[in-house]
Symmetry: C2
Subunit: 412 residues, 2 copies
């Protein structure tokens, strides 16, 4: 917190002290998302980017000057960060771009980018002495919170709707979370979580879109991309967009690095939404926001009422970036293409990012000589059912060598 000045409402601009239990702007209500404001001049004068390079063992904590936690404060032991930026020359050639890397967040502790946010959530919970952290989620945010809490000895309480996938619930239970399976919708689960947290003063709130600190953890994914490329950022960074929080964080990373003089220019951000869940892309195009659908196989970005749409729109505009929309068929094809040409098994939301890049090259938004980093937000192993839909079928053969010979495709 040594460089945090205050929190600022993205709607009305009012400022508030950076209390660890801050949520949204009291004046504006739930839409009044608070932004953490840092003293960039001080960071620029006092911090040295070369020190960041040599603190590999600290994972995401190497970015402490740009994080809203106490430098000597408590932290959980599960350490996100340092995911590989995988060069993808074969995929670059197939998509028609100059250079391509995949930031593989599937290699995080619980196999998604959300571990970066949960590490901040757990640090803040420990800061205020909470014993319990609570959220509502059906996906990566929940499992990353449960894993981070297990490692830190905190209790996690997760509200999931009755439709939550069996496998994801299993992951929560393995991590020892108290899981309420609400016999209702996701909106019911979210409301119940909010009510329960309100009446349990000892519980820390990790509801995405309410807690102002989590996005700063997600930001470290962008900071790492710059570091991984030795501060020579690519022309484009591609991020799939659901609530808008992740893309806002990653865009902010580059804007901040430019502001403190650690990089020379900000890469353009390509936001990718599913055609069936496009509220933020539409707000970007029309400058008017309306809630949208949640119709896509990519559950990580199926968000009808995104709370962080303003941040997402504003920040992508600030980078000179834009949006593309992709269909479920295009997502499945991109999952196959990524697997076949890189050995990285992308979750559907990450397949969407690759599909969006592919579309942007066809549309001429991204050029043949451009360099591109794609954020692979989580592992495909988290949603095997969708992978099976995308993967195709094996060759069934009788157990004879003659049958194998007959079925063998041409080997070129």
């Amino acid at each position: 917190m040594q460089y945090v000045k205050h929190l600022e409402c993205v709607l009305c601009g009012k400022t508030y002290p950076a209390s660890p239990t801050a949520t949204t702007c009291p004046a504006c209500g739930p839409s009044g998302i608070l932004d953490v404001v840092f003293d960039y001049d001080a960071i620029s004068h006092r911090e040295d980017r070369d020190e960041v390079i040599h603190s590999t063992d600290n994972g995401l904590w190497r970015w402490m000057p740009l994080l809203p936690v106490e430098p000597d404060g408590p932290r959980g032991p599960l350490l996100p960060g340092n995911t590989p930026l995988v060069p993808a020359p074969r995929l670059a050639e197939a998509l028609g771009v100059g250079r391509l890397w995949l930031k593989d967040e599937g290699r995080a502790p619980t196999a998604s980018l959300k571990d970066r946010a949960s590490a901040i959530g757990v640090a803040k919970a420990l800061e205020v002495g909470a014993r319990t952290v609570a959220t509502a989620s059906t996906g990566n945010a929940a499992s990353s919170l449960a894993g981070a809490c297990a490692a830190a000895g905190l209790r996690s309480v997760i509200f999931v709707p009755k439709t939550a996938a069996e496998g994801k619930v299993a992951q929560l239970l393995i991590f020892g979370a108290t899981v309420f399976q609400v016999q209702g919708s996701y909106a019911d689960a979210f409301r119940l979580a909010t009510e329960a947290i309100a009446e349990q003063p000892g519980w820390y709130n990790r509801l995405s879109g309410i807690n102002p600190y989590l996005v700063e953890g997600k930001k470290t994914c962008g900071l790492e991309i710059a570091l991984d490329l030795n501060w020579k950022v690519p022309d484009w960074v591609v991020v799939s967009v659901g609530d808008g929080c992740t893309v806002a964080g990653i865009a902010r990373a580059f804007i901040e690095l430019k502001r403190i003089g650690w990089i020379d220019r900000v890469p353009r951000i390509l936001g990718v939404q599913a055609a069936g869940s496009r509220a933020i892309a539409d707000a970007f195009a029309t400058e008017r926001y309306a809630p949208g659908g949640e119709d896509t196989i990519a559950d990580g970005i199926a968000v009808g009422e995104p709370r962080n749409w303003i941040k997402a729109v504003t920040r992508i505009k600030a980078t000179g970036g834009t949006f593309t929309l992709v269909t479920d068929d295009e997502i499945r094809e991109a999952m196959r293409l990524t697997g076949r040409l890189t050995g990285v098994f992308a979750e559907p939301a990450a397949g969407a990012a690759v599909a969006g890049l592919q579309k942007a090259t066809v549309q001429g938004i991204i050029g043949k000589s451009d360099s591109v980093a794609v954020v692979v937000s989580g592992s495909g192993l988290k949603d095997v059912r969708r992978a099976i839909e995308a993967a195709g079928a094996p060759l069934k053969v009788q157990p004879t060598i003659e049958a194998v010979r007959a079925a063998l495709p041409p080997m070129n």
Copy 2:
């Protein structure tokens, strides 16, 4: 290959040149597993352990002096190695050991330790100019090969039995493998793979238990444990055992490091087998080998006819180690315990390792002040069905705050 002297049969002791396409001892047949013999005196004189520390970016290739590949030869781009050694103080306390770490191989490129072997397999295939690599497997060996081949632009051909889990087949297909689903048993799939490779001169053989080089890749897991602990090895290293190849490789790591003077002593290796698949543990105890069952939920160590039993028995004896046996119930309980106390989601074979450690502490084999590293061989996300069996059930509630209050367990 700068320090490789030759290959040596573990049965008859005959030596052979280290040809990249070597398989088993022609004199002894399939049981005549070949061992790579290095010139340890030369390594000891010419190599410096401090150089290894500073070559993080090379992943497992930082161990080049101890690997059977050409230092300047071709390699695939998917880079295993540098998995975290996660401190597990809460689990240490629960199990009653002095210090405990988990080597989390679930953080490897395709989420298992087998990526270390497949990287060697792909490097050897590229060395001989092969375009196709083939194997029979239903599990981690297959998916790691398919991923490594995809990244390197090689074709992978995988023979799986008809019982192979849908999710694992999906992972292979996402990586673009040619998958033969043999309408027969695993033995049928293995036989067909052997026959098909024999009649396709351009195919490289990655059959575990035949290819003598793969185990040297697995060895790097043990080498890393020593490095992660700054060359102060723990009292015990715990590894679950199926075919025997992995534990033999990890034991070898420490024996070699001691031989070249980079560590002062060899940790004792605790091999863990499932009570229903215990051929190697029995051979260790009785000094007589007989094939055994394959009856365990931990499919990664369900091996009735382990090909590397001699190596496993000899090497564990050489470390002063021993075996424990665990039941499926103990494996499920250990998966829960590990998740709840560390945030690491272990596959059943890795749960077996934790269960074996727990048993060894109860039996007094491992003492209260001992330090222990457990190899978590792969991610629990690979086998969600087994995780669900282990995980327990959520609390079902109606969507009212009263229902939540009533169902809330005591928070201590």
